[in-house]
């Protein structure tokens, strides 16, 4: 389990972010005393740092430089300041990425995973998912059971992985579409229905009936 140090002084946002990242399998540590950030950093030995810019005493750019002096740990800025200057400052002071508030947890997780992959050769614990008799290899984009193996399209991979990650939970059509749009696939409502139906028939070929269930007017669920 990867340890993430979240340096954010708004306690509500810090707790919510920690809670949400926790569900994605990260262990999130918060800062107790903003005068002792370096001490807590050394003490907690995180594998990744999420750093706010507006902090008490010194700003995030200052701490970023301090951390860079002693460590190569990846640092992602989380800030509500969105000017080009701030972004440049963030990267120049040693940040690896810069995300503006308000952010969605999905995007934050995608960026964290991307950096982890580069830095720690981390392939993500859930790149291969199994459910009922179905094995889903996200990297290769295939689903298989003991006998058969079927290739999925880019959109189908996105849809299936989102549904599997949210097992036993309804995923709204809006969420599915937003995650497709995020990868430049600006699909319509109808196109989503078509993709879902194709995905269903592919899963059916693996002798799995009723794998993706429809919640009428809301979204889809894998139970």
């Amino acid at each position: 389990m990867y340890k993430v140090l979240l340096i954010e002084d708004d306690i509500d946002l810090a707790k919510e972010t920690a809670f949400a990242l926790g569900k994605w399998g990260f262990k999130v540590e918060l800062i107790d005393d903003f005068e002792m950030i370096m001490e807590e950093f050394i003490d907690k030995k995180p594998e990744l740092v999420l750093l706010d810019v507006n902090l008490p005493l010194y700003n995030g750019f200052y701490w970023c430089e301090k951390i860079r002096n002693i460590s190569n740990v990846p640092i992602i800025f989380l800030s509500s300041r969105d000017s080009d200057m701030d972004l440049i400052m963030g990267i120049n002071n040693g940040g690896d990425d810069y995300i503006t508030k308000p952010f969605s947890i999905d995007i934050l997780v995608t960026k964290i995973n991307g950096i982890m992959r580069r830095v720690y050769n981390y392939t993500g614990s859930n790149n291969i998912m199994m459910y009922r008799n179905l094995i889903f290899d996200m990297e290769k984009g295939i689903i298989k059971n003991n006998e058969n193996c079927i290739e999925l399209t880019k959109n189908e991979i996105k849809i299936l992985s989102l549904l599997l990650k949210n097992k036993n939970k309804v995923v709204s059509r809006e969420n599915l579409m937003m995650s497709l749009w995020e990868s430049d696939e600006f699909v319509t409502d109808n196109a989503l229905t078509v993709s879902i139906n194709r995905l269903r028939s592919k899963i059916k070929e693996l002798d799995l009936e009723d794998f993706i269930k429809t919640k009428k007017g809301i979204g889809y669920i894998i139970e």
């Binding site: 708004d10 509500d12 709204s172 809006e174 579409m177 319509t188 409502d189």
Partner: protein, 339 residues
């Protein structure tokens, strides 16, 4: 200075002169100087009159010359400054100091206003950053609400809030002359895709189909300003869409640049309103009759920013059919030559 104005201003001196001459005449007559010499009397008076006339004519010329610059500036509504006064008599010095004084006073006042405006801008910027923190928290909290319909409704409201918060930031920036414009070479396709993603939730929620075609052009613009403008246009397309909407982005090159067209198939704009949609505070019949509130500021600020960036914007619409915005990005060489 016209002659009549001069006579009016010098009238007392003229009267004074006539009185003096008359007294001298009366005195000379009374001591019998002219008893047998009426010619002398006429000659003397004629001489004095001529000398006075020459004096006043010269005086008129000098004064007219002195205030010519000032008067021209006043008539043509140009800047008034102390160098417009030629001469250094007591009155002229007085006028000069009055002008300098008033200028200083106005400058002080302007400085005050500029300062308070800048403070307000800074406060708004700070406030926007502060309010984004609870919005970010709210966004994450809605993710864990189990009832998916409630969660979507909340997300919808959060997306609207976020749009409004961003609008206030940019409107305050646009009022303060946009000190931080960075003109860069930007790929139009990437710009549009990012904007669509920024507004993805509202677009999806409102059933708006997004179409993009031939957008792979580079333009010279400021990315932040342009995304603000695109946000405004996309948001309008959402506000004034039909049950199932569609928005099309396309671009083409022209001789001196690139035209971006953003066309939505919404409820359109009334013919009588179309000339006024960029006016400050204009909401039109669309804005008033629909469910959504318009501030009437979004397009006004957009137009301001477009002008400052050296682009131009046009709008075409047909009621109940479509609204199309065309943004002209000019080539950098024209940009440099023209501005």
């Amino acid at each position: 200075m016209r002659l009549i104005e001069y006579i009016k201003s010098k009238f007392r001196y003229m009267v004074f002169l006539i009185i003096i001459i008359s007294i001298v005449d009366i005195y000379l007559i009374s001591i019998n100087t002219f008893v047998n010499n009426l010619d002398d009397f006429v000659y003397l008076n004629f001489l004095m009159l001529i000398i006075s006339l020459v004096f006043f004519t010269l005086d008129y010329k000098i004064i007219k010359n002195k205030y010519k610059d000032l008067q021209n500036s006043l008539e043509e509504n140009q800047r008034i400054d102390s160098y417009l006064i030629n001469g250094d008599s007591f009155e002229e010095e007085l006028i000069k100091s009055v002008i300098v004084n008033m200028k200083n006073e106005t400058n002080e006042e302007i400085k005050e206003y500029k300062k308070s405006l800048r403070e307000l801008d800074e406060y708004i910027a700070k406030w926007v950053h502060e309010i984004k923190i609870p919005i970010a928290a709210l966004n994450i909290i809605t993710d864990r609400i189990d009832n998916i319909e409630d969660s979507m409704e909340l997300k919808n409201q959060i997306a609207k809030m976020n749009f409004l918060v961003n609008s206030i930031l940019y409107s305050s920036k646009s009022a303060s002359m946009f000190e931080d414009i960075f003109i860069n070479k930007i790929n139009l396709e990437k710009l549009i895709k990012d904007s669509v993603k920024n507004n993805s939730f509202l677009l999806i929620k409102n059933n708006i189909e997004v179409k993009m075609s031939s957008l792979d052009f580079n333009v010279y613009t400021d990315i932040k300003c342009m995304s603000y403008i695109l946000d405004q246009i996309i948001n309008n397309a959402i506000k004034y869409s039909k049950e199932v909407g569609k928005i099309e982005f396309s671009a083409e090159t022209i001789e001196n640049g690139v035209i971006l067209s953003i066309k939505d198939y919404g409820i359109g704009i009334n013919e009588e309103d179309i000339g006024r949609i960029f006016d400050k505070g204009f909401t039109g019949s669309n804005g008033r009759s629909r469910l959504y509130k318009s501030t009437g500021m979004g397009l006004y600020f957009s137009k301001n920013i477009i002008n400052k960036l050296g682009h131009s914007i046009e709008v075409y619409s047909e009621k109940n059919l479509y609204t199309e915005f065309k943004i002209y990005f000019y080539n950098i060489s024209d940009y440099l030559n023209g501005y």
